[in-house]
C-alpha cells in the first residue's frame, strides 16, 4: 500500500472515537475531511444503502492529481499530510486552520466553498452545469478508509452512489449541511477523476447530460458563462430532438376525456407511433376509467389490469379522436404519424356512443392502435 494511504488509514483508525454525529438515518454530516461537524447537523432523512462499509477498493482510491502521467507528486504528499494532520482535529468548524502551514494544498478552504455549485448540482442535475461532487466525495472517502464512522453516505461510491448523492443532497434540505460534506475541491486538481470510479455504472436515471455532469468536477470550470452553458444545453437538446428536420422542440396538445374532471396535456413529439401515444394516454387516464368499471366495489379497482383498461379504451367504450387544423374532429389513426402530429391540435377520448358518426371505422381503428 502506498505510504500516503497507510498514513491516512492510521489516522482514521485512531479516530474512531471522534465525534460523529448521527443524523438519524445513518447519514452523518461530515466536512470534506470525512469528519463530522457537530454544529450544523439538522437534516437528512435519507436512509442509505448498506454500502457504508464495503466496496472499499483501495487500489482505486488513490488520490491523484490530474490525469495519469501528469501528476504533481508534491501536491499529493501535501494532500495526505493534510489528511493525516486534520483528522485529529475537532471538526467544529468547517474551515480548518492550517496547523502547521506545511500543507499548502488548497483543499482546506474549500469546505464551505462552492455551495452553489453543489446545490446547483443537485437542483439541476440534468443541466449541463450540474457539477457532480459525488465523484469527488468518493475519491476522498476511499482514501480515508470506509471504516471511519464519519463516513458519509454521500461519499459512498458504489453502483448506487450516484443516486445516493442525489438522494442525500435532496433530502438534506439545507444546502449548508450539504456543502460541508463535500470535499469539493479536494479533487479540484483532478478534474477527470474518472479512473476507477465510474459514475456511469450508477443507475442515475437522468438523461445523458448527467453523464456529462459526471465528468464536470469543479465549480466554475471551465470558465464558461452560465448563460452560455444553459443555452447550449438547451440547443443541443433541441437539435437532437429536431434531428435535422424543421420544427420546434415540443408539441403539446390538450387531451380531454369524457367524464374526466380535468384535462391533460401531452407532448406529441415524445412519441413516434400511435401505439406509444395510446399507451401513454391509457396510463394517464386510467384513474378516470377505474371509476367506470369499478362499480363492483373497491377491490375491483385494484385488480383492474392494464389490458382491461386497454379494452375499455380501444374496445368498445372509448375512441380516440383529434381536432385538426381546420377544426374538424377526426378519428385518430388514419394518417401517417408524421402527418398526424403536424395537424393535430387537440385530442379527445370520446365515448363510442358519441362517436356514432365514425362508428364504421371503430373496429379498424382498434386494430391500428393495438
Amino acid at each position: 500500500m502506498s505510504p500516503r494511504l497507510r498514513g491516512v488509514e492510521e489516522e482514521v483508525q485512531s479516530n474512531v472515537s471522534s465525534p460523529s454525529v448521527d443524523c438519524g438515518l445513518g447519514l452523518k454530516e461530515c466536512n470534506y475531511l470525512g469528519l463530522s461537524d457537530c454544529s450544523s447537523v439538522d437534516s437528512s432523512g435519507v436512509s442509505l444503502p448498506d454500502n457504508n462499509k464495503n466496496n472499499l477498493n483501495l487500489k482505486a482510491t488513490e488520490l491523484r492529481l490530474g490525469l495519469p502521467g501528469s501528476q504533481s507528486p508534491e501536491r499529493e504528499t501535501e494532500l495526505c499530510l493534510l489528511n493525516s494532520g486534520k483528522l485529529d482535529e475537532k471538526p467544529l468548524f468547517p474551515l480548518l486552520p492550517s496547523k502547521d502551514g506545511i500543507c499548502s494544498s488548497s483543499q482546506k478552504n474549500i469546505v464551505t466553498g462552492n455551495k452553489r455549485g453543489f446545490s446547483d448540482t443537485m437542483d439541476g442535475f440534468s443541466e449541463v452545469k450540474g457539477y457532480v461532487y459525488a465523484e469527488k466525495s468518493w475519491m476522498f472517502h476511499e482514501a480515508s478508509d470506509s471504516e471511519s464512522p464519519q463516513s458519509v453516505g454521500h461519499g459512498k461510491y458504489s453502483s448506487n452512489s450516484g443516486v445516493n448523492v442525489i438522494l442525500s443532497a435532496r433530502s438534506l434540505g439545507a444546502p449548508a449541511s450539504v456543502k460541508k460534506d463535500e470535499p469539493a475541491n479536494v479533487l479540484q486538481k483532478q478534474p477527470h477523476a474518472t479512473s476507477g470510479i465510474n459514475l456511469k455504472q450508477t443507475d442515475i436515471s437522468n438523461n445523458k447530460s448527467s453523464a456529462r455532469a459526471a465528468k464536470a468536477q469543479v465549480v466554475g470550470w471551465p470558465p464558461v458563462r452560465s448563460f452560455r452553458a444553459k443555452t447550449l444545453a438547451t440547443s443541443s437538446k433541441n437539435n437532437d430532438e429536431v434531428d435535422g428536420k424543421p420544427g420546434h422542440a415540443a408539441l403539446f396538445v390538450k387531451v380531454s376525456m369524457d367524464g374526466a374532471p380535468y384535462l391533460r396535456k401531452v407532448d406529441l413529439r415524445t412519441y413516434s407511433t400511435y401505439r406509444e401515444l395510446s399507451s401513454a394516454l391509457e396510463k394517464m387516464f386510467s384513474c378516470f376509467t377505474l371509476g367506470q368499471c369499478g362499480s363492483h366495489g373497491a377491490a375491483e379497482k385494484e385488480v383492474l389490469s392494464r389490458s382491461k383498461l386497454k379494452d375499455l379504451l380501444h374496445g368498445s367504450e372509448y375512441v380516440l379522436t383529434y381536432k385538426d387544423k381546420d377544426g374538424d374532429w377526426m378519428l385518430v389513426g388514419d394518417v401517417p404519424w408524421e402527418m398526424f402530429i403536424e395537424t393535430c391540435k387537440r385530442l379527445k377520448i370520446m365515448k363510442s356512443s358519441d362517436a356514432i358518426g365514425l362508428a364504421p371505422r371503430t373496429m379498424e381503428k382498434s386494430k391500428v392502435t393495438n
Partner: protein, 572 residues
C-alpha cells in the same frame, strides 16, 4: 492659470474623450477641475462599490452616460452566490432624485429589478440607450416599462442576461409614434414574442441598424423583417430552421440579397444546416460573425460558410469547427483580429475538438490577430512559442485548457515556457488568462515581461507565494487580479498592501489565505474593502484567524463598507 475663458476650455475638453485623459485633466488645477467636472458627460465606474451614487452625482452633475459594473468577474462562473450585491436601484433612485439628465446606461453583472427599470423609464425623459450585459433580476415587465415610457429610446441591447420571461407583450408597449430605434437586441429572451408587433416596430424604425432576434422568431418572420429593414448593418437571426425547398426559403434568399449593408451576423440558435447557403451572399462583406450558439452546425457547414468571409475581423465560433476548420479560417480570413472558440460541450473535455494545432494554424495565417479566447483540449509549449512568434500583437490572450492542470502532452512539462514566450513577445498584452499545468516560473515571466498587463486570471497554478509576488511586484499596471485554487497565502497577500490601492480589485478563492491575514489587511488599509464570502453556517465569531477563507474579494473604494451586503458576506 487660464488664458482662455471657461467656455473655450470646455470646448477643448470636448475633444478629450478617454476617461483616463479626462481624469488627468481634472488634476491640473482647480479651475480645470471645475470646468472638467461640469462638462463631463460620460463616466465609467468599473466597480459599483468603489463610489456611491450620491458622490458620483456631486462630482459630475452633468452626467449623461453611465457605465457600471457590479459583481466580480468570477460571478460569471457561479463562484459568487446570488444576492451578493450589485444592485442598480440605488443608482437610479439617486439620479432621479437629483434630476440627472441620464441618457445612456450600460451595465455589466448588475442586479437590475423591474422596479429600477420602471423608475428609470419614468425619470429620464431624454433616455436613449440601455445596454445590459450579464445582468439579472428583471422580467419582461421591466422591459415593457422601458419600451412604453422611453420616448426617445434608440438602443435596447440585452446581452446574455437572465431574464424572467413573463411572455407579456412588451414589444407591443413601444408606442406607435416611437420611430427612433437604432438597435434592438433581445436574443437572450427565452419566451414568445408578439411577431406582429415586432414587424410593425421594425417597419416604423427607419434608423434601425442592428436587430438581434430571439429563438422564438421563426424563419418566415425573419424574411418579412428583412424586407422591411434592408438597411440593417447587424443581424442576429432567431430560429433559422426551414425546408430549403420551400417558397419561404426562396423568399428569404431574396430578402437577404437586398440587405447589402449587413456587416455583422449572429444568432442561429436553432439552425437547419441546409439553409445556410442563403446567407452566403452577405458573407463577403462580413466583419463580425458569431456562430458561438449555433450548436446545430457541424465543421463542414461552418467551413463552407467561412470560406466566403474574406473580410472577417472578428469570429466567434464553437470548437466543433475543429483544427481543420481553423485551418480554413487561417487561409481565408486574413484580416482576422479577434478569435473566440467556445466549447460546445464544456463538461466533456475528452471531446473538445480543437487542440494546439488549430491555434497554430490561425496564428500563422492571421498576422493581425490581437484578441484570443480559446477553449481547447490541450496545448503544448512548442505551439505557444510558435504562436508568440507569429503574432506579436496580442492585447488579449485567454487560453482555457479544459483540463485545468494539463501539462504539455508531448513533453509532459508545465506550460511555463509557452506562456513565457507569449508575454515576452507580446509587449502590448493587457489581458491574460492562464490554464494548464503551471509552476511559479510562469509568474516569474509574467512579472518580468508583462509590463502592460491590466488583468490576469489564474486558476490551479503556481507552487508558492513567490508566484503571486512576482506578479504583484512586476506588473505595474495591474488593475484586476483574480485567482482561484492556487497555493498563494498570507505572505503573498500582505507583502505589499499598498499595491491594492493601485488596483481595482483582487479576487482570491480556494487559496491559502487566512482570516487573520484578511483582517490585518482590512485594518491596515482603510481605503480597501475586504470582503469574505462565507457560505457555511459559521458566523464570524466562530471562525479563528488561522482558518482559511474560501472566497475573498477586495477592492479599493472611497466610500467604505457597503450597506447592502448580505449575511454571507463579511466586511472586515
Amino acid at each position: 492659470m487660464n488664458y482662455f475663458p471657461d467656455e473655450v476650455l470646455e470646448h477643448v475638453f470636448d475633444f478629450i474623450t478617454s476617461h483616463k485623459d479626462r481624469n488627468s485633466v481634472s488634476l491640473v488645477c482647480k479651475s480645470w477641475y471645475k470646468i472638467e467636472k461640469y462638462s463631463r458627460q460620460r463616466v465609467f465606474i468599473g466597480n459599483c462599490y468603489s463610489i456611491s451614487p450620491e458622490r458620483l452625482i456631486a462630482r459630475f452633475p452633468g452626467l449623461k452616460s453611465l457605465t457600471l459594473k457590479g459583481k466580480p468577474h468570477f460571478a460569471d462562473f457561479n463562484l459568487v452566490p446570488d444576492d451578493w450585491g450589485g444592485f442598480l436601484y440605488p443608482w437610479i433612485k439617486a439620479m432621479a432624485r437629483s434630476r440627472i439628465g441620464l441618457e445612456e446606461l450600460r451595465l455589466k453583472r448588475m442586479v437590475v429589478s423591474d422596479e429600477s427599470l420602471e423608475l428609470l423609464s419614468k425619470s429620464f425623459p431624454n433616455f436613449k440607450s440601455l445596454v445590459l450585459v450579464s445582468c439579472e433580476g428583471f422580467t419582461t415587465d421591466g422591459l415593457a416599462a422601458v419600451a412604453a415610457n422611453c420616448r426617445l429610446l434608440r438602443e435596447l441591447d440585452l446581452q446574455e442576461n437572465e431574464v424572467e420571461d413573463h411572455r407579456g407583450h412588451w414589444l407591443s408597449c413601444f408606442p406607435e409614434n416611437c420611430t427612433s430605434l437604432v438597435l434592438l437586441n433581445f436574443a437572450c429572451l427565452k419566451g414568445e414574442i408578439n411577431l406582429a408587433s415586432l414587424e410593425r416596430l421594425v417597419a416604423r424604425s427607419p434608423n434601425l441598424k442592428s436587430l438581434r432576434l430571439n429563438r422564438a422568431v421563426p424563419f418566415d418572420t425573419l424574411q418579412r423583417l428583412l424586407m422591411r429593414a434592408p438597411q440593417l448593418v447587424d443581424l442576429g437571426t432567431g430560429s433559422y430552421v426551414h425546408d430549403p425547398y420551400s417558397e419561404a426559403y426562396n423568399k428569404l434568399k431574396a430578402a437577404i440579397q437586398s440587405c447589402n449593408s449587413i456587416r455583422s451576423l449572429s444568432g442561429f440558435l436553432e439552425v437547419a444546416p441546409r439553409c445556410m447557403s442563403a446567407v452566403y451572399p452577405v458573407c463577403e462583406n462580413l466583419t463580425f460573425l458569431n456562430l458561438s450558439y449555433a450548436a446545430g452546425l457541424q465543421s463542414i457547414e461552418l467551413t463552407k460558410l467561412i470560406q466566403y468571409c474574406r473580410k472577417l475581423q472578428r469570429l466567434w465560433i464553437l470548437d466543433c469547427i475543429g483544427d481543420k476548420g481553423l485551418g480554413v479560417v487561417a487561409s481565408t480570413c486574413k484580416e482576422l483580429q479577434e478569435l473566440r472558440v467556445f466549447p460546445s460541450d464544456p463538461f466533456d473535455a475528452g471531446n473538445a475538438a480543437v487542440t494546439e494545432e488549430g491555434l497554430v494554424l490561425v496564428s500563422a495565417g492571421c498576422p493581425k490577430l490581437n484578441s484570443l479566447l480559446y477553449f481547447c483540449q490541450q496545448m503544448t509549449n512548442a505551439a505557444l512559442i510558435t504562436v508568440a512568434k507569429n503574432c506579436t500583437n496580442f492585447i488579449r490572450f485567454r487560453l482555457c485548457i479544459l483540463d485545468p492542470i494539463k501539462p504539455d502532452p508531448v513533453t509532459n512539462q508545465p506550460l511555463d515556457e509557452g506562456f513565457g514566450a507569449i508575454v515576452r513577445s507580446c509587449k502590448g498584452l493587457k489581458r491574460l488568462s492562464l490554464s494548464g499545468l503551471l509552476t511559479d516560473q510562469v509568474f516569474y515571466y509574467i512579472g518580468m515581461h508583462a509590463k502592460q498587463l491590466e488583468m490576469l486570471s489564474i486558476a490551479f497554478a503556481g507552487d508558492s507565494d513567490k508566484g503571486m509576488l512576482y506578479v504583484l511586484n512586476g506588473c505595474k499596471k495591474l488593475r484586476k487580479l483574480e485567482i482561484r485554487d492556487c497555493p498563494f497565502g498570507d505572505a503573498a497577500l500582505l507583502e505589499d498592501m499598498g499595491k491594492y490601492e493601485t488596483m481595482r480589485s483582487l479576487w482570491m478563492s480556494s487559496c491559502e489565505v487566512t482570516l487573520g491575514a484578511c483582517k490585518t489587511l482590512a485594518k491596515k488599509m482603510p481605503s480597501l474593502n475586504v470582503e469574505i464570502i462565507n457560505e457555511s453556517e459559521q458566523t464570524e465569531f466562530n471562525l479563528e484567524d488561522r482558518q482559511k477563507v474560501d472566497k475573498m474579494y477586495l477592492y479599493r473604494t472611497v466610500v467604505g463598507h457597503r450597506k447592502d451586503a448580505p449575511e454571507f458576506v463579511w466586511l472586515l
